[in-house]
Subunit: 181 residues, 2 copies
């Protein structure tokens, strides 16, 4: 496995940092990988675009910051406008159709998916939007198994909410599978 | 202000990553500072010592990883044993008396505080142990105001739990104030 460098971006309340931490923990605790996860908060964070970096690898990671991500997820227009230029040529760009109008064709596999809308229609809880996004990412990258994500969720959230998270993850994975075929 | 480099360490469930994120957000959103917050998960994370790095500064931060922290917090014996050697000479080392027996005198201001015990006696909820620890850190470093931490908490947790968090923060701040005088 090569190093996979990812940036999840969006606005504060969308849970992109949490999603990044869950993915990193799943990779390390249940898939025998190494991960580093970070966020830089600059003056621009006050404007509203949150960014969370994750690198997953099977060998030592020296530099924790992502310069050019293989995988870039943008959940708001502001995040898309800001981070669009950093994607690695040939990488994967995932945006949410409800929040982002893409303006250019990226030099990347570009997928505009109705993640938010589907979560609202099928589950009705915006709080699991980030888990649906994780489902898309793991299905498209095959980085970690869904069971590993669920094991992390089991240690983090009350059992009454697990089913809703599992459902969001499954919706995301189906959406990712479909968009790749 | 100089850059303040911090490492919060402990075991998975103690909330050291959450505490680091809350502190970074408070600094950036309400104190006009710049922050970077990261965690490296290596094979050792499977052993149990979680580490979260935070750098807070009033100017650009180039390298997100902390090599020698000015402030090192250790909430378990394992974390203490592992990270003790990295403290910056003259820095601040905070440990919890319930979980850590310090074995050497560090070349640092060393404070062993009954954070866990006091939280359990006065609040009875281990979940706010990390917020008490944050109270100690902000009181000893004067990095951010307690109101800035509370503003972040208000956006993150249900209002019914805010009072408990405020109490834990206040307990920590009192403990920090006392231990410095």
């Amino acid at each position: 496995m090569e190093k996979c460098r990812m940036v999840f971006s969006g606005s504060g309340g969308q849970g992109v940092i949490t999603a990044a931490i869950i993915l990193a923990e799943a990779a390390v605790l249940y898939e025998n990988l190494i991960a580093v996860q970070s966020q830089m908060y600059g003056p621009e964070a006050r404007g509203g675009a949150t960014r969370s970096d994750i690198i997953i690898s099977d060998s030592k990671i020296n530099y924790p910051k992502v310069i050019q991500p293989n995988v870039l997820v943008c959940l708001t227009q502001q995040a898309y406008n800001k981070f669009y230029p950093i994607i690695r040529p040939g990488g994967l760009l995932v945006t949410d159709t409800r929040y982002v109008k893409t303006q250019r064709k990226a030099d990347a596999i570009q997928r505009e998916l109705p993640m938010f809308q589907t979560v609202m229609e099928k589950i009705g809880k915006p709080i699991v939007f980030n888990i649906c996004m994780l489902g898309v990412v793991i299905s498209m990258t095959q980085l970690v198994k869904s069971e590993s994500i669920m094991k992390v969720l089991e240690t983090r959230i009350p059992s009454g909410f697990l089913e809703m998270n599992r459902e969001a993850l499954t919706i995301g994975m189906a959406m990712g599978d479909e968009s790749i075929n």
